[in-house]
Symmetry: C2
Subunit: 406 residues, 2 copies
């Protein structure tokens, strides 16, 4: 597996663009388009929130088509809680792009992110479409990644290359989302995490869905900024086959290599999300091992990642590990507290449910001063493990979110 950062590593056959359509009051870029030069198979994973934004509903419907060729995305407006009009507007967005690209509207997927409860300015989108389509290029993938940003401070792109037989395929991706981040996405069901993944690998739609499912479980679905699940979380992947590998149509070696590369790439994007979390000064990585099942490990890691108290402690560079203990114990997972160990960086803080002999708060504090804080919990009751990512919780987070919609 070869790791490549930046737009230069785009998979074959994909063009993108991003521009200002006047949706964001700030006047920044807010309308983006991703296009595959040839029909691609697609898979999507969406928020499991009961309240789903209109573009989520429409994209779920459109994913029933066999092939897809474009994704249109706006930032600055979530097109959520807009009733029937919201659905019409999401369809109009897809149709407008389809018309310009000479595609069936169902071959276009749609996503939105921004404020909830404000009518989508469809007329502005339609007006911008010709310029958006005209500007499609390989070089503009960076514009795409910038356009989908809301409170993000930087754009997020990543790519990997992996050899399948004699052919090297590329998997690339861009994502956004640094607030209202606690995705629990499921394929064919329902984050405002948005992630757009592309690959030139040849793979069947069914295997692509399965691979995406595996990849998001250990990446996007393990990130939390504020424990608030969005109405708009969406992750799309397009696979256009232009790399010319032997088509993946079963769970074979090729599938496993592809899925491993996809999972790695999605994990890197997920870490970028946590690192750029609203107001964040640090990335926090929580590994839970020794669990009975992976699901148990995920639950404990995820619960620790949502502890406001721990996140404040990380912000204050205070190795207050009692907050880790309390959070783990409230996860709903059954484990034997008297066997539990906790590590802060390499420093053992808790040993068999009691403070570790020779624990030095001063030494632990050193590792809480790093830009990346590593916490490990060993339940010592099984062999399953999982890793969750979050950020610290700063006064800046409160500032950003107490002033956002006004």
């Amino acid at each position: 597996m070869i790791i490549v950062k930046g737009g230069a590593a785009s998979p074959k056959g994909y063009l993108a663009n991003g521009m200002k359509a006047g949706i964001k009051p700030s006047g920044r870029k807010d309308l983006a388009l991703l296009y595959s030069e040839v029909p691609a198979v697609a898979a999507g994973a969406f928020t499991t929130n009961r309240c789903q934004a209109s573009p989520v509903k429409i994209s779920r419907e459109h994913l029933k088509a066999k092939t897809h060729q474009a994704v249109i995305v706006n930032s600055g407006n979530a097109n959520c809680a807009n009733g029937k009009q919201g659905e019409k507007d999401a369809v109009e967005m897809a149709k407008g792009a389809a018309r310009m690209l000479r595609l069936d509207p169902h071959m276009v997927l749609v996503a939105s992110t921004g404020i909830i409860g404000v009518k989508l300015p469809v007329a502005k989108i339609k007006k911008a479409l010709p310029e958006l389509v005209m500007g499609l290029s390989r070089a503009n993938s960076t514009a795409f990644a910038e356009t989908i940003m809301t409170t993000d401070t930087k754009s997020k792109e990543f790519a990997v290359k992996v050899r399948l037989g004699r052919v090297v395929v590329t998997i690339g991706g861009a994502c956004k989302g640094v607030g209202m981040i606690h995705p629990e996405m499921q394929t064919e069901r329902h984050a405002t995490m948005l992630a757009f993944l592309t690959t030139d690998a040849a793979i069947s739609k069914r295997m692509l869905e399965s691979s995406l499912d595996e990849a998001i479980r250990d990446s996007f679905n393990m990130v939390s900024v504020d424990a608030d699940m969005s109405t708009n979380d969406s992750c799309f992947i397009l696979a256009n086959g232009l790399a010319g590998n032997a088509r993946i149509a079963a769970r074979d070696t090729g599938y496993r290599k592809f899925t491993e590369a996809l999972t790695f790439m999605a994990g890197e994007l997920a870490k970028m999300l946590a690192q750029d979390g609203e107001g964040a000064t640090k990335l926090v990585e929580i590994e839970v091992r020794g669990a009975h099942t992976v699901e148990d490990a995920r639950k404990v890691a995820r619960k620790i990642s949502t502890s406001n108290l721990l996140k404040c402690a990380v912000f204050g560079m205070d190795p207050n590990w009692g907050r880790i203990v309390a959070a783990a114990g409230s996860s709903g997972v059954e484990f034997d507290y008297d066997r539990m160990d906790v590590y802060l960086g390499p420093v053992k803080a808790l040993s068999n449910g009691a403070i570790a002999k020779g624990f030095s708060k001063g030494r632990a504090r050193k590792f809480f001063k790093d830009k990346k804080v590593r916490i490990a919990v060993d339940l010592k009751s099984g062999r399953a493990k999982a890793t969750a990512w979050t950020c610290d919780f700063s006064k800046e987070y409160v500032a950003i979110n107490s002033e956002y919609s006004t």
Copy 2:
């Protein structure tokens, strides 16, 4: 039901005290004692956290006794994650009090609150005990309420009187806890919410347990400050029978009147907790109605009460109702979003899943400027309802919790 605030309304036969024993580095009061002049029946509810503090384990064990007469409490140290030594120390605390009061040690319940992972200074507690017992008085219930405080800015007491037949019984209570507050307590199983309730009603132990169970479900268990569940949450009630009512031994009218009064009193204490939440400037009350089941209503209300984004918006006095929608939808409860209504104070914001006609953000903002912000969600799919309480989320919360243990 007659509502009485303050210590003057104490039920008959209870004495209390609180003093400085040198546990808190700040030098404030940190050791408290509650005593009934005659044996009382007792019930307790404890945190459902998998990681339980030593005093929780010991009190659960002691509650197996038929009668109880005292509760000893320290603040400034949670006596959690101290292994076998922690349990010995909790027993020593109870034994020390029992010796001075000439009671069987099992008649003494014990509770702790404060930092996790620091050995309890039992010698200091033992040294302070004679003075603590000597100072027991009716008037010192206020000292008791002050002593149990940690990051609380004010002490919390409340009392109600209710007529049972020809007799008026009194139910009183004191509580603390404004951080690591998201109790899910269960009787006979397991905050650091601590609540100490007393009554002079005559009631069987079994009915007292049942009544406490009902009362906490709609009060303490519906409060959240930061969604972090403690290892030490404990709620105790003593009933000494000195009011002389016909003893409640079945689910009769007397039981229902007593439980109603107890629930009301616990609810008032719960609101005081939320109002005094760490860094809080506002009390937020969330009513969910029209749910299929009470459990569904509780889950939705509780989920909304833990939304960091909503709580930041309340701090900013920004009526950003989209955050309410997103939180409700992520509760795991199934409901029809297309029927959902949301109210901000009396202002309808969402109607049948779409922004309400004529919604005025300016008008809604008026109600977000109140000290008490009322939010209502109507799922319109059933007749069950529940109310949750929380506070807003301020920069001060982050300041308090990034500097707590250092």
